[in-house]
């Protein structure tokens, strides 16, 4: 193999693919990056058998061929080269890298052992084209609610599904739930994507990426953004039927300024460490105020008041301040609305926009 590539392109590709390599014992080849010529491009790929990432970068191919190289070494080496053209030559399981000022050789291994990269059949797959900004916002708004508990794998992913001609993303860890409508759909999708895969896609998104394609089939999902392709397995199992848990209406509703509320909750959370982050929200519908209380018997206590626009009866609910902050921080509108129904029913938070797409639900703490 002999190709000429720019350091910038190779460095970007290596940076993104080396993250998905696996250093777990078993199959040592998974710690390697695959370099393979593909017509007039160079394929840079890695996999850990959960996710596979492949980049195709522009290259001047003088001699087709392939090799695999230990990811970390190659990545760190290329990152530190100056921005110029590099000539990569693979011969006898060694990769020679030469630039105008340096020349090095890295031992590699042949690509026969390297797993085949899964491919998705474009004809059979369900395909969505989503703008990068929509994708970024929707994924980061839902991923926060996914569970980290590996004993229940189905909740460690984000549930992409079609419902009434719309494509929704949803995630829950049992204590909170986030749901976001992302685009319309005419086909039926029902897939749980591992959070690690989505984080990988988020990291790979560049500022200049305008849109990306998401392709589903029954067992895998592929994200295509510019020259990058990330394919992942789906989490096996049925996502809980969460819709029945979303209250249709709440007894107490109020709207509030988001940034102001974040500020006040941050203060209250300082006194909530003892109670596991629990703070108490009191809505007074006559005075139109929200009072937030937190008490730490050893440190002290805090009480703050914010004006709200409320309707319905007065309510007092104890919520986890960390969950609240997580939710408020991923919302974008200036004003948001809350719905409470007594001490134990789920609390619903919406953005106030022209077409609200995001819903976040938090279970109150029992106090």
């Amino acid at each position: 193999m002999e190709v000429i590539v720019t350091q910038e392109n190779l460095s970007f590709a290596l940076n993104n693919t080396s993250r998905v390599t696996s250093t777990k014992a078993g199959l040592p080849i998974l710690g390697n990056i695959l370099l393979r010529t593909d017509k007039s491009r160079l394929l840079v790929a890695a996999t850990n058998l959960e996710v596979a990432a492949s980049h195709r970068i522009g290259a001047k191919v003088t001699k087709p061929g392939s090799i695999t190289i230990p990811a970390r070494l190659l990545n760190e080496f290329i990152q530190n080269l100056p921005k110029e053209q590099l000539t990569l030559t693979a011969k006898d399981n060694k990769l020679h890298i030469s630039s105008s000022t340096s020349s090095s050789t890295i031992n590699g291994s042949p690509d026969d052992e390297f797993p085949e990269l899964p491919t998705i059949d474009d004809k059979k797959a369900v395909k969505y084209t989503i703008t990068a900004s929509d994708f970024k916002q929707s994924v980061s708004q839902t991923i926060i609610a996914a569970s980290g508990d590996s004993t229940r794998p189905i909740l460690t992913g984000v549930y992409w599904h079609s419902f009434e001609k719309k494509l929704y993303l949803a995630a829950t860890d049992g204590y909170r739930l986030a749901e976001r409508h992302i685009t319309g759909t005419s086909s039926s999708v029902n897939a749980v994507i591992p959070t690690s895969t989505l984080q990988e896609v988020l990291r790979t998104l560049r500022d200049e990426t305008v849109e990306l394609d998401v392709l589903f089939d029954e067992t895998q999902v592929t994200f295509r953004l510019d020259e990058v392709e990330i394919t992942s397995r789906l989490i096996d199992g049925n996502f809980p039927d969460y819709r029945q848990l979303i209250p249709a209406a709440s007894e107490t509703n109020f709207t509030i300024n988001r940034t102001e509320l974040i500020r006040v909750i941050k203060i209250a959370s300082l006194f909530a460490r003892e109670s596991g982050g629990g703070i108490i929200l009191n809505v007074d519908s006559d005075k139109n105020t929200l009072t937030i209380n937190s008490i730490a018997s050893e440190i002290g206590e805090n009480s703050s008041e914010i004006p709200v626009v409320s309707s319905g009866q007065a309510a007092s609910v104890s919520l986890n301040s960390r969950y609240l902050l997580d939710a408020l921080n991923v919302m974008s509108s200036d004003e948001i609305s809350f719905g409470f129904s007594g001490k134990l029913a789920p609390c619903v938070i919406h953005e106030i926009t022209k077409s609200p797409a995001y819903k976040h639900i938090i279970m109150p703490l029992k106090s």
Binding site: E116, T151, Y175, D241
Partner: protein, 452 residues
Amino acid sequence: MSHSLWQSVLGEIELSVSHATYMTWFKNTELINDAPANFTVAVPNIFAQRQFEVKFDSQVKAVLEKNGVKPDAITYIVKTAAKRPVASRETTHHLPADRLVAPAKKSIPSQSQPVSGLNPRYSFDNFIVGSSNDLAYSACQAVAQHPGTKYNPLFLYGGVGLGKTHLIQAVGNEITKKQPDTQVLYISSETFVNDFLESIRFKKKGFATKYRNVDVLIVDDMQFIAGKEKTQEEFFHTFNALHQANKQIIISSDKPPRNIPTLTERLRSRFEWGMSIDIQMPDFETRCAILEAKAAQSGVELERETVEYLANNIKTNIRELEGALNQLLAYSEMRGIPADISTAEGLIGNVRRSRPQHLTPKQIIDKTARHFQLSPAEICSAKRDKHIVTPRQIAMYLLRSELHLSFPKIASELGRKDHTTAIHSVEKIEKAIKLDFLIREQVAELRDKLYV
């Protein structure tokens, strides 16, 4: 048949590829359909699917041919545990759940599913309640009704054989009965220590998962954790993780938290956080009720006087009480004689002989003095300092309760002339035992020491 075919294919392939390759790709594959026209193999994931399609297909075919099977083509499909049906969504009622989604079903982590460790024999129904344990009983019932919210942690303590284990297991059994989904874990603190040591020694994973993913954690005989620094620290973290998540924790011990030596301060304060209740030796009536219930379980009805005789003679420990009853029943069955008071009398002699009876008044005074770090002379002196007076009164009480000495004799043992002092002291301690927890503890401890 298809199963054995695939086994032999795998066996052959295992020999021809590297171990890592075999483990990564071939393990967890299975033959779904062996009809030549529709030969289907299930593989664990999309990566394996692609790998088989491109790389291993010819190899698999070759081995199949050797085994006399020649499929037209092999289809590789990804195994899915569950089909994905569209769930019905018309329901709008709100589940009264404290979690949005029910916790993991028991069947999901099939191998790592911890066994609850509960003995179904222990239930609330067969627990005899009396004035000595009714507080503990109601607390346990409350916890079983509302795990995680009512008294968390619930700390039960009391001497051996008084029913701590019975009660805490009954809570576990009751919760499992009501909500079979709840993960209840019952362990002795020794199991916890062993698991912890093993997880360190063999770098085993799953320790935290085992203990932190339960809904109810029941730890028996917590006192054995005393003095084990690292284990205490680990338990502390486990405790916090569970408590934060509103998971119920139930602990039993033979002493209250503050009396367990070398229990770290942070654990102690946590144990005292919820509710600590002591279980005391049941009174005479309760002992009778226990004996009658146990006898009824064995299908025997005892005469009232036999029951009373047993209850009267064994006062310290329910286990001993049950032992005596079992002995009586077994004896009467073997010999074919009625389980009446005379048989009991003959047998109880045996039971009682197991206890050293050579206790002298001097020993009681000496041991009481030593317990309070006084000299026997001080106990018998005329000093009226408070730290001497109470031990002196306790000594008198013990002389009365253990040796049944007469009041004048008690007075003279302690160098007193007037026996009314002895009467006053014994009455005072009797009353204090009912009211003052500290005195009760000390008397119980002393009594144990006397018979060591």
